[in-house]
């Protein structure tokens, strides 16, 4: 929630509780040692102040026992901090498989969002409560950073690559979204809000004004750019088949392998030479400069939607027909 005098941030995501619990552990350790040191210094300063009869200090060169104590105890305490922090980080890095995808583009000095059905928004992001949301983010110019304090999440948005962050809101309401990486003149105005709605209200809102969904827009591009001439069809293709590619492990030319995640697919479009799939000729041209950052995300979304051949064909067919229907809308909506 916004407004009012506050000394502690809202807890509005599933991550807020665990992060705050860890925070209180850290505060506890800090307060303990701060009080300990302050008290010792104050007590010693008063008790051993110079006065008649105490003109000279005692000759104490040190104590191995004490040194070991105050090395080992802090080591133990920070070891807990390391593992606790690493555990949280691990959870923060892994979005649940059923997360709703939202595409985010940062540019000086605004945020552009697009939902999976194509609905776009600027600087305001509507999301359903109690549903994991995964942001896939790209930048058109400099480094930006998505930060939602009430959710305790933050991630840089870096030009030249895709980054992701996920959260699950627990409370409805409006929450601040800040750009947290200095990006020039109006950095402090690159501020938006996240509006968390009840899932049924969100569905109603989402249906309100749809453009072309990213998957459909991606498919359209896929055909326009003739990607299908090498990556689609029967028999031996010039390029590897993309069906079921996302999330699978790909063997690379010259040994090694890589998990085909969003950033790998993006890289394969803008810099195909970087990682060639084993068994194929490196003949694909680069598409860098031909497609915008947003279109790249659409292409990635489409490739992700392609399921392995044994999977449901119907779903793909539906997408296709949806795409053809929406062609006019896409051309009029324009880039």
């Amino acid at each position: 929630m916004q407004g009012g005098l506050k000394f502690f941030p809202d807890q509005a995501s599933t991550m807020a509780g665990p992060v705050d619990a860890f925070f209180f552990y850290l505060v506890g350790v800090s307060v303990f040692f701060t009080v300990l040191i302050f008290t010792l210094v104050a007590v010693f300063a008063v008790k051993y102040r110079r006065r008649p009869g105490n003109e000279q200090g005692a000759h104490i060169e040190g104590s191995k026992l004490l040194e070991i104590t105050w090395t080992v105890i802090p080591l133990g305490l920070v070891a807990i901090m390391f593992f606790w922090g690493a555990k949280l980080y691990y959870d923060q890095e892994r979005a649940p498989a059923n997360a709703l995808d939202v595409l985010v583009t940062g540019k000086k000095w605004m945020w552009k969002f697009q939902h999976s059905n194509g609905r776009r928004e600027i600087n305001t992001l509507h999301i359903p409560a109690r549903t994991p949301i995964k942001l896939t983010m790209g930048s058109e110019d400099v480094i930006h950073n998505v930060f939602v304090p009430a959710f305790r999440v933050k991630q840089d948005v870096v030009p030249g690559r895709l980054t992701t962050v996920w959260f699950e809101a627990t409370k409805t309401g409006s929450f601040h979204l800040f750009c947290n990486q200095y990006c020039g003149k109006d950095h402090s105005r690159m501020v938006g809000k996240v509006i968390v709605m009840e899932p049924n209200e969100f569905q109603a809102w989402l249906a309100g004004d749809t453009g072309l969904p990213p998957v459909a827009s991606g498919e359209l591009l896929f055909n326009q750019l003739a990607c299908n001439s090498c990556h689609m069809g029967e028999g031996m293709l010039r390029g590897p088949s993309l069906a079921g590619l996302h999330g699978s492990r790909v063997a690379l030319l010259g040994g090694g392998s890589v998990i085909a995640d969003d950033d790998y697919i993006r890289e394969s479009i803008v810099n195909p030479a970087a990682k060639i799939v084993d068994g194929y000729q490196p003949i694909m041209p680069t598409f860098k400069g031909l497609v915008t950052e947003e279109q790249l995300m659409h292409l990635v979304a489409y490739v992700k939607s392609l399921e392995a051949p044994s999977g449901a064909k119907a779903g793909a067919a539906e997408t296709t027909s949806g795409a053809t229907l929406a062609v006019d809308a896409a051309t009029t909506a324009g880039q």
């Binding site: 302050f38 104590s63 040194e67 802090p74 949280l88 200095y182 003149k185 402090s188």
Partner: protein, 543 residues
């Protein structure tokens, strides 16, 4: 503080009256005079950086941007950072007190390379001229971190002249470090073994290692930024195939250790002052010396903790987190040892000691809040918020600057031969401590609330804490003026100090104040460990 009524005599031949011409100063090869040159130059830059800070705090009184435009504000925090870090904090204690004291403390007549030392000051000044040119001709707005591609392809301000200034200033730092290491290795007086070195020297040795090994990497990185920007090339710009994260890695490879360049010498000062005013030998000499070296070495392998949310690999994050926690331990050891040094001391409370108490307090808080930032899952929330701003000001302003002021008060009588007014100086120390905490403690809360750094405008719910912070800053500002008044007053009205006004141990207190040009009539022979304020007879050795 003392009851002596007879004022000591002012020595006849000192480094200060060995020639009065401008040339005798500008071409001096005397390490003490060069220290004074640095003192004057960095004081100027401290005032300039402070002015920027004042304007920043005034702007942040209200949520709207009403004092200045956003691009002006962006230049303010950038120039505050660049001036304070590169032209005040990095040179501060090493260039002034290191220069003045390193040779004297080890019983040498000068640094190993006096001409190089003078050249270092000129490099510092040349770098300063470029930075000042950037400032007066319109400023620079990239943040002191120069993140690419903003700095190379987007910023519309004086990036190149600032970069050149920092590059040149970097060489000054490198050669100062080189001079210290060679001096400490090769010029120790007979009997001054490694474990008889004052901890101030150990701290400077560790600092110098970072200076000579870290600074060149900053140099080449900042040079590449300049080249990329000047020629429109794409070394770090993703639009031309470059990698912005490579810049961050190279930048923090220096700039994290640079924090230790600022704090290690400060720690050295604390060990000198606390023993003197507690009349005790330092507790755990070996552990404090070793921890300085450990900090310098480990400090080179923690830079990635600035990049947890930059999209560097998860595994890199894990390693950097573990190492960052490890580097906290030697700092903790130092704090415990200083506290233990007070135990069974005979403590007095002159201004330098008050600054030391202040240092221990704020450094403890600053160090502990660093643990929040080293923790992966926590840093995701507090990274680049006011929590970070508060944390590093606790280390750099609370820590390094308070130690710098402790050093100023402690060695001022040695440098000038004059006593400053103790009562007023003590008021100053208290004002600095109170003002500092009022300014920066609210920023921890602001940060956890989610206030991002570098914001010219902010949401209204943060205003109360910003007002608190600005109010504190005004106390802090007055606090900083008080030592200035004390020192200027002492030059005119101060009583003669005599060789050893604090009855302190250490070779610098065995020679007249101010010292003669060649420091020692005869090179001293060292026969005992440092800080022998107590006789061995009363020794209580714990095991």
């Amino acid at each position: 503080m003392t009851t002596d009524s007879a004022e000591p005599k002012y020595p006849e031949h000192t480094y200060l009256n060995d020639g009065y011409s401008l040339k005798s100063w500008l071409l001096t090869k005397d390490h003490k005079r060069i220290g004074i040159l640095y003192l004057i130059s960095i004081t100027f830059f401290f005032a300039l950086g402070g002015l920027f800070a004042l304007l920043i705090r005034l702007e942040l009184l209200t949520p709207q941007g009403d004092l200045m435009q956003s691009d002006t504000y962006n230049k303010m925090f950038t120039m505050h950072g660049i001036v304070m870090i590169f032209f005040f904090l990095v040179p501060s204690i090493p260039a002034v007190f290191g220069n003045f004291l390193v040779p004297i403390m080890i019983g040498a007549r000068d640094l190993a390379f006096p001409r190089l030392n003078l050249a270092s000051w000129y490099m510092y000044m040349a770098g300063a001229v470029f930075a000042l040119y950037a400032i007066v001709s319109g400023g620079v707005d990239t943040g002191w971190t120069f993140y690419t591609p903003y700095s190379t392809a987007h910023a519309d301000s004086h990036v190149i002249s600032t970069a050149v200034g920092i590059l040149i200033m970097g060489f000054s730092s490198i050669f100062t470090g080189l001079n210290f290491i060679v001096t400490i290795h090769r010029m120790r007086a007979p009997g001054m073994t490694w474990f008889r070195l004052p901890l101030f020297i150990w701290a400077h040795y560790a600092t110098s290692l970072i200076m000579i090994l870290g600074t060149p990497v900053l140099g080449i990185t900042i040079a590449l930024v300049g080249v990329e920007r000047a020629l429109g090339l794409g070394i770090f710009d993703p639009a031309n195939g470059g990698d912005p994260l490579l810049f961050q890695h190279l930048f923090w490879f220096y700039s994290h250790p640079a924090v230790y360049i600022m704090i290690l010498p400060a720690m050295g000062v604390i060990s000198e002052v606390i023993t003197c005013f507690a009349r005790k030998v330092i507790f755990g000499y070996g552990f404090i010396a070793t921890s300085s070296m450990l900090i310098a070495i480990l400090g080179f392998f923690v830079w990635g903790h600035h990049m947890y949310v930059s999209s560097q690999s998860e595994y890199a994050g894990l390693i950097f987190s573990a190492l960052s926690f490890l580097v906290a331990i030697p700092s903790a050891i130092k704090v415990f040892n200083w506290t233990a040094t007070l135990y069974k001391g005979s403590i007095t409370f002159e201004a330098p000691m008050l600054y030391v108490f202040g240092f221990i307090g704020v450094f403890t808080i600053g160090g502990l809040t660093g643990l929040f930032l080293a923790a992966l899952g926590m840093d995701r929330h507090v990274h680049d918020t006011y929590f970070v701003v508060a944390h590093f000001h606790y280390i750099m302003v609370g820590g390094a600057l308070m130690a710098y002021l402790a050093a100023m008060h402690f060695w001022w009588p040695k440098m000038t031969g004059k006593r400053y007014p103790e009562g007023l100086a003590m008021v100053g120390a208290i004002a600095v401590f109170v003002g500092f905490n009022m300014t920066f403690f609210p920023q921890f809360i602001l940060g956890y609330l989610g206030m991002p750094r570098h914001y010219h405008e902010y949401v209204p719910e943060f205003q109360f804490l910003h007002i608190m912070s600005t109010a504190g800053a005004s106390v802090l500002g007055v606090g900083y003026l008080i030592p200035g008044v004390c020192f200027l007053w002492s030059l005119i009205h101060g009583r003669n100090a005599g060789p050893n006004p604090w009855e302190a141990k250490g070779l610098e207190w065995t020679i007249p104040s101010p010292p003669p040009t060649h420091n020692f009539e005869e090179i001293p022979v060292v026969t005992e460990e440092p800080y022998q304020y107590t006789s061995e007879a009363s020794s209580v050795r714990h095991s």
